[in-house]
């Protein structure tokens, strides 16, 4: 309780401090009078009595200062004083202040920019009730598909989970959608989502107006308001000016009438990060669009699923429970034809935390962002080292000032606090400019993500979380770069400093300053090596031969769920549409493929039919195509012929060189029979299908530019099993090779209108663009790290320059003396440079070791360059040393031109 009473009394004292000051003075006065009087009574003369009283009392100023520190809230008293004082100090050296602020703005700005992205993508907690309970349910298919994505679920699986699992409640599903949207005269696309009826209830969000969707809305035939729609707060404000009367308004979404029943709360952007739906419709809308079978299709995995953990159930327990239930759930839901595909057989169920929502971008960007975060922290450390150096130089020039203030009763803590305030007054404006820089750089950084959707949805506007981190950053900086000068200042011996009035003669902090340069150089070298390695990687990736023609090739996803054709008729439709597109001017070839180049991989097991008895089936990449695929994407046909768009080629296939070598190592593969083996792990029965090899094509990559070309088997498009529309599943791509984007687009649109008018138009992917975007992650890393390395280099140069310049100033007299005694200019130049060369050497040595470990840590991102590449290390070090020496030459030159007489006279 003591501390509480003390605090209260301090607060009270703070409020009436003027009165208390007067009282204290009066108390001291009466004390001295009592003492003087007693001394007089003892027979001392008047003067002597007074002096003795003062002597017995001790230093009045010090006591008063000590008393005040203990009495009120000294921080609140002294901070305004310190600020006023710091302002005077800063305005006395505006150039110094400007350099400090710019340095900090660059360092803090880089940190803020990266952190804004990290926060938006990884850290922002969803604005929902108890976000910690939320988990994402998904199927981990990484055992087969190497791109690291996990697969969503579908309604039958979700219902089975709800029925069998005891771990979850409030399970809800979510699928993002782009809809054509009509409201009166407004006719536009709208970004939306279809969600389970219980979604909003489970998330615990409240409507901004009207009501949110309920399970009653998600029924076949619609709910009480027919097809109910909830709009986002954003478009409610932007499009409807927050008009409450829009509740009950009729709108048209993809040609179907719907009713706006409510508005989602402000700031709610859904559970999928970097996607912000502007309209929410019940999952029943899928049935409205494509029929009930499509909504309940168990052969597609399309619903992102989230749930809340039951009280007392941990995520690990839930995961364990689900993995025991999972095989039987799959048996009961997935169609038999798909159930035993390797990708499903090897899948595991995942229960992942969803406090911050989920995004596909995360699997790709979590590590790179962490890496960038470490790099910007290094840049900030270089900044701080720089400013520490500058401040030390100034602190030694201000030693007398500190000494005088200490003599006048300022405690060491007080001196340090004052210096800290001074640093803070440079750091905070620096942070402000930094935030502005980060804000300006935001769109540019987002663009480098190579994801148009995310580019639109992620806000790089600084928010509270980001700003508080930035301010914390600034304070940390102030502490870091203020610490060294404050420490040396507080260890200044008063008498020595006052006696030694010439600032040049003092050497305080030299040792510390010498430490900063190697530190900066080491960090810079690490950054430069990392940046060079990443830059080389991007260059190598982009010039890597993928095996394709990349110019003027376009992919368009098809969405033929609503066309009346099925089975054979659908296969014919695909082929006819491709052929029709080829008739348009400007289109060279058009075809169909299940997996367009560099957009993922499918695998299947094959074996040479002639060896089927004694050889095990081996895995190969499988693609489903139509005629002209190879000419469209520019894969050379090495032997045999292309597939034809006719059923006579139903049992033909084409293999890549690697596949030919894999299955027929000793003979020519042409005209041999390749057997597709689908192994049912449960029944142990193999389903086989034989294909005759009619052609061999050049090797290509499929999953990424990093892989070596896999063995590939190309099968003709054919009718599929019941639930699946073709043997390629429900999604296929048109592959168009045309003279221009416009030609490809118009051929596609005309063909769609003519032959599949009920299907939505989908924007085309430009292959050259998607190729560049496939290295977006590496590009982001290399450009950003390159920028940070440059920044680090620049800052280190300033640091080196500062140190040498300061040393020259400090040693002016000495140099003058040496020159007077006959030292040549070359000797003087060498004298000045010798020290900096030593420091550079230490820095390069430490930096080399640090860079070696850093390079090993980013090994996973490198492509065709060894992390220990000696050329990269040598060139980086050389660059750093050269620029460092250059920075040192300027002040060294000044040392050479010192006039001995002048230098000695000033002493």
């Amino acid at each position: 309780m003591d501390w509480l009473r003390t605090l209260l009394s301090r607060c009270k004292a703070f409020l009436i401090r003027d009165k208390l000051d007067e009282e204290l003075e009066e108390e001291f006065r009466s004390h001295l009078e009592f003492a003087t009087e007693e001394n007089r009574r003892r027979g001392m003369p008047e003067n002597e009595a007074r002096r003795a009283a003062l002597r017995a009392f001790g230093g009045i100023t010090q006591i008063r200062e000590k008393y005040r520190l203990r009495r009120g809230l000294p921080l609140l008293d002294t901070i305004p004083q310190d600020i006023r004082f710091a302002r005077r100090q800063i305005s006395r050296a505006p150039g110094f202040a400007a350099i400090a602020i710019i340095t900090l703005a660059l360092g803090i700005g880089a940190n803020t920019a990266v952190f804004t992205l990290t926060h938006a993508l990884l850290l922002r907690t969803l604005p929902v009730r108890d976000p910690g309970e939320l988990v994402r349910l998904a199927i981990d298919v990484s055992a087969v598909e190497s791109n690291g994505h996990d697969a969503p679920l579908n309604l039958p699986i979700i219902e089975a989970i709800e029925k069998q699992s005891r771990s979850f409640h409030g399970v809800f599903a979510w699928c993002v959608y782009d809809f054509p949207f009509k409201d009166g005269t407004v006719n536009s696309g709208i970004h939306g989502a279809i969600v389970s009826g219980n979604t909003f209830e489970s998330l615990g969000v409240r409507p901004a107006a009207g009501r949110l969707l309920t399970p009653a809305d998600d029924q076949p035939g619609g709910g009480p308001d027919g097809l109910a729609a909830v709009i986002s707060h954003r478009i409610w404000v932007e499009r409807y000016h927050a008009d409450p009367s829009i509740i009950g308004r009729h709108i048209t979404v993809t040609d179907h009438g719907a009713t706006i029943v409510g508005v989602a709360p402000a700031g709610f952007e859904g559970v999928i990060v970097a996607e912000h739906p502007d309209i929410y419709l019940p999952i029943e809308f899928q049935a409205v669009l494509y029929g009930q079978p499509a909504k309940r299709d168990a052969g597609r995995l399309w619903l992102e699923t989230f749930a809340r953990l039951n009280p007392g159930v941990s995520r690990a327990q839930a995961g364990a429970e689900m993995n025991t239930l999972f095989p039987s759930i799959l048996d009961a839901t997935i169609p038999p034809a798909l159930r035993h595909l390797p990708v499903i057989e090897k899948a595991r169920f995942e229960v992942k935390p969803a406090r911050t929502g989920w995004s596909q971008l995360r699997s790709q960007y979590t590590e790179p962002l962490l890496l960038l975060q470490i790099m910007v922290a290094a840049v900030l450390l270089i900044c701080c080292a720089n400013l520490s150096g500058l401040f030390l130089a100034r602190a030694s020039a201000r030693r007398q000032e500190f000494a005088i203030r200490e003599a006048l009763g300022a405690g060491r803590l007080r001196l340090m606090a004052q210096l800290f305030v001074e640093c803070l007054m440079l750091a905070l404006p620096g942070a402000l400019v930094g935030v502005w820089l980060a804000w300006m750089a935001g769109p540019w950084i987002l663009h480098m993500l190579g994801n148009a959707e995310a580019e639109q949805a992620i806000s790089m506007q600084p928010n509270l979380a980001v700003l508080s981190v930035t301010v914390a950053c600034a304070m940390l900086c102030a502490l870091l770069f203020g610490m060294a000068p404050a420490w040396t200042a507080s260890h200044t011996s008063v008498e020595a400093a006052l006696r030694n009035s010439h600032p040049r003669a003092s050497a305080g902090g030299t040792g510390l300053r010498n430490f900063f340069v190697p530190f900066q150089v080491a960090l810079s070298l690490t950054l430069i090596v990392v940046a060079s390695l990443l830059g080389t990687t991007v260059a190598r990736l982009l010039t890597e031969d993928s095996g394709y023609r990349t110019d003027n090739v376009f992919f368009v996803l098809t969405d033929f769920l609503r066309v009346p054709e099925h089975g054979e008729a659908l296969v014919t439709l695909y082929r006819r549409m491709a052929a029709r597109m080829e008739e348009f001017p400007g289109v060279d070839q058009a075809s169909v493929a299940a997996v367009p180049p560099l957009m993922g991989r499918w695998t299947d097991d094959f074996v040479a039919a002639e060896n089927a008895q004694h050889a095990q089936p081996a895995e190969a990449m499988e693609n489903i195509i139509a005629a002209h695929y190879f000419s469209a994407v520019g894969i050379p046909l090495l032997a045999g012929r292309d597939l034809q768009n006719s059923n006579s080629d139903r049992n033909s296939c084409i293999v890549s060189q690697a596949a030919a070598r894999l299955y027929f190592p000793n003979t020519s593969a042409l005209d041999k029979t390749l057997r597709n083996v689908i192994h049912n792990r449960r029944t142990g029965v193999d389903t086989i299908h034989d294909y005759q090899i009619v052609g061999i094509v050049h090797d290509t990559k499929y999953d990424s530019l990093r892989e070596s070309p896999p063995p590939i088997v190309y099968l003709p498009i054919a009718a599929g099993e019941e639930a699946v529309t073709t043997n390629a599943g429900s999604t296929l791509f048109f592959i168009i090779h045309a003279r221009s984007t416009i030609a490809a687009r118009s051929a596609y649109l005309a063909t769609m209108h003519e032959m599949a008018p009920s299907s939505p138009e989908i924007p085309a992917v430009v292959f050259s663009q998607s190729l560049r975007d496939s290295v977006a992650r590496e590009r982001l890393l290399s450009i950003m790290s390159g920028f940070f390395a440059l920044l680090g280099l620049l800052l280190s140069c300033i640091g080196i320059y500062g140190l040498v310049a300061w040393n020259v100033t400090r040693r002016t007299t000495e140099i003058g003396l040496r020159m007077a005694l006959g030292a040549t200019r070359v000797r003087v130049f060498a004298l000045v440079m010798r020290q900096i060369i030593g420091l550079l050497a230490i820095g390069v040595l430490i930096g080399g070791v640090a860079a070696f470990f850093a390079a090993r840590a980013i090994r996973g991102y490198l492509f065709e360059i060894h992390p220990g590449n000696p050329v990269v290390f040598a060139l980086s070090a050389l660059l750093l040393v050269l620029i460092g020496l250059l920075a040192a030459t300027l002040p060294a030159h000044r040392a050479v031109s010192i006039d001995p007489t002048q230098a000695l006279k000033t002493e």
């Binding site: 003591d2 009473r5 003390t6 009394s9 301090r10 009282e23 204290l24 009066e26 108390e27 001291f28 009466s30 004390h31 009078e33 009592f34 003492a35 009087e37 007693e38 017995a56 009392f57 001790g58 230093g59 009045i60 010090q62 006591i63 000590k66 008393y67 203990r70 009495r71 009763g409």
Partner: protein
């Protein structure tokens, strides 16, 4: 400055002040300082001013109270007096001080 002179053991001065007020009744700062000097036979040469931060500390803890009054020779001064809490505190402080002193004494005796 000042802190290299023989500083009183933390809490020692507090107890001296409390004890002084207990035996003398309400007293002003100079009176307390003089009393402490006299009792210690002037062996303890403290700067009289240091009594004031100590008095403030005791007040903040609620162990002593203060009010302005007039001295016998008609001079205004602030008088300090022991509070109820302070009276209790004296026993505690005395006990703990005696323990320390006894320990020290034993220690010195044994190492002699």
């Amino acid at each position: 400055m000042g802190d290299n002179k023989s500083d009183l053991l933390q809490g020692t001065l507090d107890l001296m002040v409390l004890k002084t007020l207990e035996s003398m009744g309400p007293l002003h700062g100079y009176g307390i300082a003089r009393r402490i000097e006299q009792v210690s036979d002037d062996t303890l040469s403290l700067n009289q001013g240091t009594i004031y931060p100590a008095l403030l500390r005791l007040q903040q803890r609620g162990w002593i109270n203060s009010e302005w009054g007039t001295s016998e020779n008609n001079r205004r001064a602030r008088y300090y007096s022991l509070s109820r809490l302070g009276k209790k505190q004296i026993d505690k402080e005395t006990e703990s001080w005696e323990r320390v002193a006894a320990t020290m004494a034993r220690f010195l005796a044994s190492s002699r």
